[in-house]
Symmetry: C2
Subunit: 412 residues, 2 copies
């Protein structure tokens, strides 16, 4: 007997038929004698519809009201799945965030879970053999009594945090793919499903574009050591594949230097020429951008040919490119650059692997391989366990396939 | 300055444009210096969609889960209207049933409101000039912490009960018609909008088929003496018509004998011949029907030609007719009737008026008028302030128009 949390995303509960299918997955675990809590997302498309209504009514909507509205989608799925389980003869009840409660900060729209009171759920496992069906993505800010949401993909975090709270043996994240792949199989048909991946690697993969899990959920799993599986709800309920286990580094026997290749499309690059090389100039650039809610990513500073000034390059989401230009043009007198250059239609390709820590020259091999394919690298950033290159979007597939093969990730 | 509750039904909030229009109605009252609480239904069609999903998943769904699911529609509207009001510069926040809380019984699907804690809402009127936007139709059962719903049309009851709880000066029920009519204007073009109607009359009108208000809401308004107006949200927000006031009998100066004509379609009639005329036989008939959730309406018992037996006639909704026959055929040995007769395609037409109390022969005039038109009356029931006749559905319009004219209700 084990205690587990099963999480099902929007495509897994997209309609009544799929919710019935999810109930069969839950039944399998219950029949095996497990104590089960299920976390569900809204039916596919529902959250988008609710978000669109909020925006339609007013572009500057109150985040507290937005949260109340968008959190309703998960309430519906939780109730419907509870009914579907009961229909299979399984005791079940739905839980909304405020009922458990899942207490969060008051950062509406991107609240952080502070505590989950899972005692009643655990008690009901023992006393009633009852499955808890929990509405994901949502919580309660205690002091104000308002409903909060955790941000896009927040149900992953709900699931992992619930698993930590009820001391579950594992957390199974069901999605529309059967695990974590070495890269996007739509780009590289030879991409392999991994059996295991370390938390740190998964964190980088998720941050750098792999959409399989919300970044925050991986952080929570790592901090609390929640054994997390990524699995497919489209596998047959009576015989699903095991998926990919996300676990501590030391639980992975055969380490590879590079574990996966991630990429994010729709990047834009901004370069400011001959910025005065003096204290405070970085703040003059990045504070106005932050105030305009523009996410700045790769930042590269190089001394320009003239040694009293510096050239500064960074990336922003392509959607924010025009806004960033306007902000920087307005701030020109404060920053004092001579020239603003930019480019859109870029992609950031990253290679991730804990093995990089102990292997030198991993990135250098990539630069060489990309150069041999005629791919121009516009910017590079590196960290302990990953490196990223910024290239023209036209070369995305070529670059990803090149790196995937270079590091021996192709299916054999 | 007055304190008021405004209630908007599903068609009034059917889409974003209409929600914006509702916000203008609320703004008019706020600008006039009033303290305003708004109660909203789900967007038109949403509740039906949620109900259909519950039924699809399992015909025998858990009423507690059903309530959690269907109550989500009102949450969405409340949040969206709060945003729309803020967009007009009006302070507003949404309230879900459990947040206020609106405490109810645990009769899921048709819960009764037990208490409403309106203190915080009233405090915010004074301190923040904040409009309270309340999700109708829903409440909280305190002991179990589960969400409850009040049954179809329950938002009317939410509004009237809230008005009583916060001691509102009046409760305006906005709908798609501009008041209560002497009968359905689609059937009788000469139907008149009433300026006033007594609670008791409105109660009968609602019970007997006028769909303008939920029956329970009229009861609550009557008990607590809530001055309730029925108005139209489709009137121009800057110049709406006053609607119909539902009030105590003594506040109506010019009493009419008959106030309105109501009707319910899709009735069926069941007659049991030669039922043994002995104690317990009524229970043998009506207990099995109640257990099968069949609503029995008009019941008429007459001694049959043989004096030791009796004939029993009653009506059921046409949709339940076949089920009722089956139940009664199964119970035949217990009841002991000789013959079961029935008819469908019937309609019940009722005339309502407090004036009937003090005027004799009101019903008799109707029977004569209907007979003169060749309309056969299959059953009659009467009470202090109304009488009903059961006739063939084909004569519905003729009967309603005949009675409408007979009692002087036609527009002059």
């Amino acid at each position: 007997m084990a205690r587990l949390v099963m999480k099902f995303g929007g495509t897994s509960v997209a309609n009544i038929e799929r919710i019935r299918n999810v109930a069969l997955h839950v039944k399998r675990e219950v029949d095996a004698g497990n104590e089960v809590a299920v976390v569900v997302s809204a039916m596919s498309g529902k959250t988008n519809e609710l978000v669109a209504w909020c925006r339609d009514i007013s572009p500057l909507h109150d985040a507290r009201e937005y949260d109340a509205v968008v959190a309703s989608g998960e309430i519906v799925t939780a109730g419907l799945l509870a009914i579907a389980l009961q229909n299979l003869g399984i005791g079940a009840r739905s839980w909304q965030g405020w009922q458990i409660p899942i207490l969060t900060s008051d950062a509406h729209g991107s609240a952080r879970i502070e505590s989950i009171h899972g005692d009643e759920i655990v008690k009901r496992f023992a006393e009633r053999q009852e499955v808890a069906v929990v509405a994901g993505f949502q919580g309660l800010h205690k002091a104000t009594g308002r409903v909060t949401t955790l941000g896009r993909g927040g149900s992953d975090t709900s699931a992992v945090a619930l698993a930590a709270a009820i001391k579950a043996d594992r957390c199974d994240i069901y999605t529309d793919v059967d695990g974590v792949y070495t890269t996007d199989p739509r780009v590289v048909p030879k991409a392999r499903r991994m059996d295991k991946i370390a938390f740190e690697e998964m964190l980088e993969m998720a941050s750098l574009g792999a959409k399989v899990l919300q970044v925050r959920s991986v952080e929570v799993a790592m901090v609390h050591g929640v054994k997390t599986y990524v699995r497919s709800s489209f596998d047959p309920p009576d015989n699903p594949s095991p998926g990919t286990l996300i676990c501590h580094e030391e639980d992975i026997v055969e380490q590879q230097v590079v574990t996966g290749i991630a990429f994010t499309r729709d990047e834009a690059q901004v370069t400011l020429r001959r910025v005065a090389d003096k204290p405070g100039v970085a703040a003059a650039i990045f504070v106005p951008l932050a105030e305009a809610n523009i996410n700045v990513d790769m930042i590269i500073q190089v001394v320009s040919d003239d040694t009293t000034t510096t050239d500064l390059t960074f990336t922003v989401p392509a959607a924010d490119y025009e806004k960033a230009r306007q902000v920087l043009e307005k701030a020109q007198p404060m920053i004092g650059y001579t020239n603003l250059q930019g480019a859109t239609d870029l992609v950031k390709v990253s290679a991730i692997g804990i093995g990089m820590r102990s292997h030198a020259g991993v990135a250098a091999r990539a630069f060489k391989a990309l150069a041999e394919k005629g791919i121009n690298i516009r910017a590079i950033t590196t960290s302990e366990i990953k490196f990223s290159v910024l290239i023209d979007a036209a070369y995305t597939e070529l670059a990803v396939r090149t790196l995937h093969m270079l590091y021996g990730l192709d299916k054999v």
